[in-house]
C-alpha cells in the first residue's frame, strides 16, 4: 500500500506540469533528501546508527505547491525513508491556504505544525548545520507533531522596526514517540514492541506560535504552546510549551530552544538545546551543539535503570557546502543517558539485568543532504 501511495505521488508530480487544471496558474515542484552512514559505540542504537554501522539511512521527499491567482494556494509534501526497519512512507502535509492579506491567511487540511524553530522543516537537511535535529527538543519524546489536522490562521504584522509572525490553529495532531522506555518501566513484553517509534494521537488541539523579529537583522525570539486530549481510554490532557531564540546571518547561525511537556497522570518532560555554527568560508561550516532532556513517567519505579529517563548530548560537526542545496556533513555525537540511545528492545531486559547497559554512546555520522 505504501509503495502504491508513493508511486501515485510520483505519477501526479510528473503529470501536473502537463495537465495543470484550469485555474491553476503556477505549479512548483521541490524536494529534499539525503543519505548517511551511522556507527555507534557499545551495544546502543541511536539516530539510526548501529554498533556494526548502518548505511541504509536514506530519505527523499517530494513537495508540490499549486497557486490559483494571488490568494489561493495548495501545498503538499510526501516523504519516504529507508532504514534497517524497512521503508516508511508518510504524508507530511496537504493543505489549502486562502490569503485575505499578508496579515491574515486561512489554512485547512493537514498543515505543518507551527511549533518552535524547526518543526515545519523537520527533515530538511539543507536548512540546518547538523544531520539531525537536536534530540533534546525534537527527539521522539513527542513535544510536537510534524503536522496538525484542522484549521488555522497565520500571518505577519509590522510593529515599527519590529515584526511579528503568528499562527493560531485547532484540530488534532499525531506525535512520534519512542515507546521502548515506557514499555520497559511498565514491564511490557519488549518482544511485542514491534515499532520502536509509535504514533500517539491527540484531539481537540488548540495551539499558537508567536515569533518576534527584532530590528537587529536575523535576531528573533518566540514562543509556542498547544494543548489537547490524548486519543486514549484515559483521555488525559496533554500540554506543551516552548520558547525559542535565533540569530542568523551570512556566517553565524545560533539557536536555542526549551520545551516543557505535561501529560496528566502520565508523563512529564523538559528539554532544551543550544547550537552554534560558523561559516569558515563559503564552502566550509563548523558547528557545535548541546542538548538535554529529562523525561519521567508517573507511577513507575525507575530505579532499575534511571538512565532511561535522561538524554544529554554534545555534538561537533563539519560541513562542506557544494551549493546551498547540497551539503556533505560529518558529525560526532557523545550521548550520556539512554532515553534515545539504547540497545534493541528485545535485548534491553537482559542487558539491564546483567548490569551491562552502557550509559554513554558515541555516534559517528557521515553523509550528504540535498534539496531542490
Amino acid at each position: 500500500m505504501q509503495n502504491r501511495t508513493w508511486a501515485l505521488a510520483l505519477a501526479l508530480a510528473a503529470a501536473v506540469p502537463l495537465h495543470a487544471q484550469d485555474g491553476i496558474d503556477h505549479v512548483d515542484i521541490h524536494g529534499f533528501g539525503g543519505w548517511s552512514y551511522g556507527r555507534t559505540s557499545a551495544t546502543n542504537v541511536y539516530l539510526g546508527g548501529l554498533p556494526e554501522g548502518d548505511n541504509r539511512l536514506s530519505q527523499f521527499a517530494l513537495n508540490l505547491g499549486a497557486s490559483s491567482g494571488e490568494s489561493f494556494r495548495v501545498n503538499a509534501q510526501t516523504e519516504m525513508n529507508e532504514d534497517d526497519d524497512g521503508t516508511h512512507v508518510a504524508l507530511d502535509y496537504a493543505f489549502a491556504e486562502f490569503k485575505l492579506s499578508d496579515h491574515v491567511k486561512f489554512r485547512v487540511g493537514q498543515v505543518k505544525q507551527p511549533f518552535g524553530i524547526y518543526t515545519e522543516l523537520f527533515n530538511v537537511g539543507t536548512v540546518r548545520p547538523f544531520f539531525s535535529l537536536p534530540q533534546g527538543v525534537y527527539g521522539p519524546v513527542g513535544f510536537a507533531g510534524q503536522s496538525y489536522k484542522g484549521v488555522g490562521v497565520t500571518g505577519s504584522e509590522r510593529l515599527g522596526k519590529w515584526s511579528a509572525d503568528y499562527d493560531v490553529y485547532g484540530g488534532g495532531n499525531d506525535l512520534m514517540k519512542q515507546h521502548v522506555v515506557e514499555a520497559y518501566y511498565h514491564h511490557e513484553d519488549l518482544n511485542d514492541v514491534a515499532n520502536e517509534i509509535e504514533t500517539q494521537s491527540t484531539r481537540n488541539v488548540v495551539g499558537t506560535r508567536l515569533v518576534l523579529r527584532t530590528p537587529i537583522e536575523g535576531l528573533s525570539f518566540g514562543g509556542s504552546a498547544y494543548t489537547g486530549i490524548l486519543n486514549e481510554e484515559a483521555a488525559n490532557r496533554r500540554t506543551v510549551a516552548a520558547g525559542q531564540a535565533e540569530f542568523v546571518n551570512d556566517r553565524w547561525s545560533v539557536r536555542s530552544e526549551v520545551a516543557r511537556e505535561h501529560q496528566v497522570q502520565d508523563e512529564d518532560a523538559l528539554g532544551y538545546y543550544a547550537e552554534a555554527a560558523y561559516r569558515l568560508t563559503a564552502k566550509w561550516q563548523a558547528g557545535v551543539q548541546f542538548d538535554h532532556l529529562h523525561n519521567t513517567f508517573d507511577g513507575v519505579d525507575a530505579s532499575s535503570a534511571p538512565s532511561l529517563q535522561d538524554h544529554k548530548e554534545g555534538v561537533v560537526g563539519l560541513n562542506y557546502w557544494f551549493t546551498p542545496a547540497l551539503v556533505l556533513k560529518a558529525d560526532v555525537h557523545h550521548v550520556v543517558g539512554n532515553r534515545f540511545a539504547l540497545p534493541h528492545p528485545e535485548l534491553l531486559n537482559d542487558i539491564i539485568a546483567q548490569g551491562a547497559l552502557s550509559k554513554s554512546t558515541t555516534l559517528v555520522r557521515l553523509g550528504g543532504q540535498f534539496s531542490f
Binding site: 503556477h26 512548483d28 509534501q77 492579506s101 499578508d102 515545519e120 551570512d250 563559503a282 566550509w284
Partner: protein, 145 residues
C-alpha cells in the same frame, strides 16, 4: 608523500581563507512595470517585496517579483546591498519558506534583457538589472537608504 600532504594542507588553508563572496558584486538598478505608481522606495521596503513579506503595492495591487540566477554578479550585489544577505543565505530563506508551505521563491530570468521583458509585460512586476542595462518599457525605481 610529505609533498602530497603539504599540498593538501595548503589547499585546505586556501579554502579556509577564501572570502565568503567569491563573486565580484556588480551595481544594479531596480525596475518596475511602467503602470506602477510608486517612484521611490527605501531599501527595507524593497527587501520586503523581494522576500515576499509584502506582496502588494501601496495601491493594493499585487507584486510580481523576478530574480536573476544565483550565479549572477548583479544578484550578488543586489542581495548584499538591499536584502542584507548573501545569495546563499537568501536561498536558505527560500528553502525554509518552500518546505514549510509558506511561500515560493520569485520567478528567475536568465539575463537583464529577460528581466526587463518580464517586468514590461507583467502588471505589478519588479526586478533588478545591472546599472548600465537598457531598460526600455519599464520604470527605474529610486531606492533610498
Amino acid at each position: 608523500m610529505k609533498h602530497s600532504i603539504r599540498i593538501l594542507i595548503a589547499a585546505v588553508v586556501l579554502a579556509m581563507v577564501a572570502p565568503l563572496n567569491a563573486l565580484r558584486a556588480q551595481d544594479y538598478k531596480v525596475v518596475v512595470n511602467s503602470a506602477t505608481t510608486v517612484a521611490s522606495m527605501s531599501k527595507a521596503e524593497v527587501a520586503r517585496l523581494f522576500l515576499k513579506q509584502d506582496t502588494r503595492w501601496k495601491d493594493g495591487k499585487p507584486v510580481a517579483v523576478v530574480d536573476l540566477p544565483p550565479a549572477s554578479a548583479v544578484r550578488q550585489g543586489f542581495s548584499k546591498t538591499v536584502l542584507g544577505k548573501d545569495v546563499g543565505s537568501v536561498n536558505s530563506y527560500w528553502q525554509q519558506q518552500v518546505f514549510s508551505g509558506r511561500a515560493s521563491p520569485p520567478v528567475v530570468k536568465q539575463s537583464d534583457a529577460d528581466v526587463v521583458a518580464y517586468v514590461a509585460a507583467t502588471p505589478g512586476a519588479v526586478g533588478y538589472v545591472s546599472a548600465d542595462a537598457a531598460a526600455s518599457g519599464v520604470k527605474t525605481l529610486t531606492v533610498t537608504p
